[in-house]
Symmetry: D2
Subunit: 343 residues, 4 copies
């Protein structure tokens, strides 16, 4: 099976290349970059100087000849335009951008862009692998979740489904390493601006907020209202979400721990921390794991759910390959068995 | 005026030395270190190789001859034992540890140590400078606030005093650089364990929790219940607290901003961010500033208060010198006018 | 084939576990740790919480039953004592410490320890894979090279063999990430001491100096005199060595580049940079690659050779597995095909 | 005395503002920025939100009214054009760019720009404070040295003057933090590209090479040939230069140490390390110190000289203020007494 990557010059794409190159059943069919078409991959990414790929123009006809699956690793807006033209040709499409994740009005409002054409949007499956295995296995268009929503939802869904928390009191305090901001040039991601700095951004206005709310509702049956605050941490990779909610009477530490253990019993990439120990982003670095912890605070009846992922892996390329595996009926962990890189 | 530092080999002490060395009215009278008595300061801190100090034994009689003010920069427990003996000799005592900050039962419970003798504990003034100026000016024992409580209370007090938030819904998501963990040797503060890592610790059980609750109540008249979660960030200095609470009807962004501007009108070290901009730890690096932001979230009626400090400055040594200034009736900013180091 | 790791609680060992776990032909037969015997691996390394291993005592009889190959990832001195007892039992031994790398006097002088028994020392093969393939394939005791020597020798050997440089003028300015210093607790590797700091150590006295000189001579036929200076860089992984030597008349950029290209034509892990581009440590992060650059300075007739490796991979565990592959007649790249992690 | 800063939006300028704001005898007369004229300083630098300055256009007439001294903190080329017009009006000019540091041909060749008009170039004094005190005290145009040359020359000059080293064998391996690359947007200074990375750049071709050679000759009387290699280190501030040269017979550790101690006996900012201890960049962070170490290697007869500076302080703004002090006959340390920030 050959896969094509569109938007091949970003960090998410570098990670897809790493994963596909090691994948037992897939290989790279072509790399597309409008901005650097004609250039060599190794000029863009010297760490890949042992590979020989030329970046190519966006040309649907040619792309259809390159393989059977296409990953969109381009900024929002690109897949809205091009995905329908490739899906029409029979390619399975996995979109890592936000275009196919939201109801059209929400997309228009939070992204400030025109939503994708409805027939395609309607058939898109939200690719939170652990909670949509069957739908993903049949999907032709997979909307790969955002990095923050992946971590947030893996905590929220068991809490909501089990009724452990008050849906009106949810606060998500989220922290991300800098690779989530991409490889584009911005003052705010210069080394000297970020290093030895911790900062807030888009407080209350981040576009992942409606994604979390919409899919938490769809996947749990309960509609939460979420206060979401993202923060930028001086490290390359890693997301930690700390989720707070008022606990419902009758719940306690033991019941919470069991709820999470049961929820992810068959999930090869979700590791539940034992009570009294907490997730750390480095424990999942370079891997597709999501480490989840949960704490019941007796003093305040607060539930604290915590999840860490590598934002480029379970938060982007890793989950995209996991979804590819589900779609192709390969083992869910194919090409994703790599142990975290420590330290 | 000469000041003595007890516990001279930690990071807080290095910062006190930096500040006192540049102070227009104070100077260093002696440096005490039980563990390294007899050693030279420059062996402990090569960055101070232009200074000549020998570390000395803890000897109350000698210390009383060295100066008029003593800073305790030692671990919890040391001041409980020694402060009374120095205060008795007429020295003004400023304690940077937790011993004199809490009600005795709370100290015993959260620190697992015997509280200091009550006569001394009772006369100790909690040195949150902006909210205790007059009491500090007359105090002989000043309990310098903890790093997290300083940032948390500077946000909480105006919110509580003004009645803007529901006191039962307060969540404090706190993040600290590593210098807050001290210079002692622990696996968890080794470079390779911390760098490229973001982790939680002491979730719900950090000893700064009761300090925040107790002094928030004392300083605002309203008793909040606080869920407090600390997190360790891969950087040397800096604390960010993100405070969440359900907002009370009738409040909005404008009223919140005004409340904070008025609260800190005369506070030379508190800078209020304009609506739509957020604090960053680097903006206060090496300085005694606390940058505060506040946000009203229309979607969820949540108030988000945010404060950054340099944990070694406003969170420890800087505020200790600010308190010294208040106590000595010097200008509040004496020796603290340094601009943040950027980048 | 089952492999045992002795000294299982350090960073080098974590890397060996990562590599063996993914290796197509090898698996982990046992993990030995004197200091933490009886403990669970996942307590020592939470990033490995999906694996179940109990750390065991050093017991040669039991170890001989656990597998066929043993890796020593313990501090210097341990293999001198225990390797002979395991080799006697027929286990193939790969030592990652310095014990079997040096002539006995040099070991005694630079390490301040008793050298290993001579029959075993004499049969040890220095495992610089690219230059000792045939000997390694037959070796029962492999002395895996040090991190700095690996990078330094991969630059030096082609320069010395070809006669391009004056052997009396060699300067090696070496820089390492902090994981090279191990997971032991030292003031000098605390986060706050290392972060935002660049420092020198053991100038002229590092124990890798004689290793470089001795094996440069053995592998090139020319005996260089080397001034070696190590420096500690605030990052987890990565070594850069910058090698300077006076160039010999008749040499130039083109001839140097060709010399390196030819020298490593068949080496799957050595990538030669094109003239005008330079190695970067991040380009090899998490991989077994060594990126090499060479520059002829017309102004000063100086040759500058540059090499980067991941100190835990090609500088330790990666090369150890490469040597295992050579010894077992498996493909040299088995289990080492992982692409560098970027960023 | 009022000082104007031209090019007020870079890191060097932020540091000048920090220093002038705390200076006992100087204050800021105006801040010039062609690119952001009309904007507020606090928008460019939120850490300075307690200061109120509007950035202004480059207008020589207005600038002449703003003060008596002008600092050029703009990129190369700006001072060549504007400095003569301001010097003509009687302002003392201190240029932090390279324009006035080199012989005209060397400037043209290494910078690829037209050198400044010769009358002005000829009267410029090279502001390496420790070695040009008297000339600086009378200068109207001061060419503030580059960051690397400052550190390199403070090591080289005593070595060359005393005849301790062979001038044909000098290698300077230099390492810098990222703030030296400025605040402009480049792929190579994005956080994710630099963090956890160590890389070489401009090997043999850096424009500081001729500056070192020319002024080493002018200040020592001996003309060295220098191989200069810069490297980028993942930290904000700090430069370490490691200088290697073949030692001359008759020299040894003791004589070298004495030579340096005598050379800098009266230099308040140069601290000589004791034999066996080495400089660290963090020991000078935020200060104007230069820590210097020297080592005689008995094995190879090599001299290793080492110097660390804060590139924005002694390597730029700090030395510029030191030169201002010398020029104004103020104490050399005025406004520069700040202790290094540690950690």
């Amino acid at each position: 099976m050959k896969a094509i990557i569109i938007g091949a010059t970003g960090y998410g794409s570098a990670e897809l290349i790493r994963l596909l190159y090691q994948h037992p059943h897939a290989e790279i069919g072509g790399l597309i970059s409008s901005s650097q078409a004609g250039g060599e991959l190794k000029e863009v990414f010297p760490h890949l100087s042992h590979l020989t790929f030329t970046l190519e123009e966006m040309d649907p006809d040619r792309i259809a000849d390159m393989g059977e699956v296409v990953f969109f690793a381009a900024p929002a807006g690109v897949s809205s335009e091009w995905l329908p033209r490739l899906a029409e040709k029979g390619l399975t499409c996995i979109d890592l951008a936000g275009d196919f994740r939201l109801e059209p009005q929400a997309y228009a409002e939070w992204y400030g862009k025109t939503p994708p054409p409805s027939p395609w949007l309607e058939q898109a499956v939200y690719g939170l692998s652990e909670w949509r295995r069957q739908e993903i296995a049949r999907a032709d268009v997979i909307a790969n979740p955002g990095c923050y929503p992946t971590a947030a939802l893996l905590v929220l869904i068991p809490l909501l489904r089990s009724g452990a928390v008050d849906t009106e009191t949810i606060v998500i305090d989220a922290k991300s390493g800098v690779s989530g901001a991409g490889r584009g040039m911005k003052l705010t991601t210069l080394f000297c601006e970020v290093n030895e700095n911790l900062s807030l951004y888009k407080v209350g206005t981040h576009q992942h907020t409606p994604e979390i709310e919409q899919h938490a509702a769809a996947l749990s049956g309960r509609s939460p209202r979420v206060m979401f605050t993202p923060q930028l941490v001086p490290m390359n990779r890693g997301i930690l979400v700390t989720v707070y909610a008022r606990g419902v009477e009758g719940w306690n530490q033991e019941r919470l721990t069991e709820t999470f253990q049961e929820a992810y019993e068959d999930a090869p990439f979700v590791r539940i921390k034992e009570p009294g120990s907490w997730p750390r982003t480095k424990d999942v670095q370079g891997s597709n794991f999501c480490d989840v912890g949960v704490y019941w605070d007796d003093r305040t009846d607060t539930v604290v759910g915590m999840a860490v992922i590598d934002n480029l892996m379970k938060g982007a390329a890793g989950q995209a390959v996991q979804n590819l595996n589900l779609r192709m009926a390969w083992p869910e962990t194919a090409g994703l068995t790599g142990t975290p890189l420590y330290p």
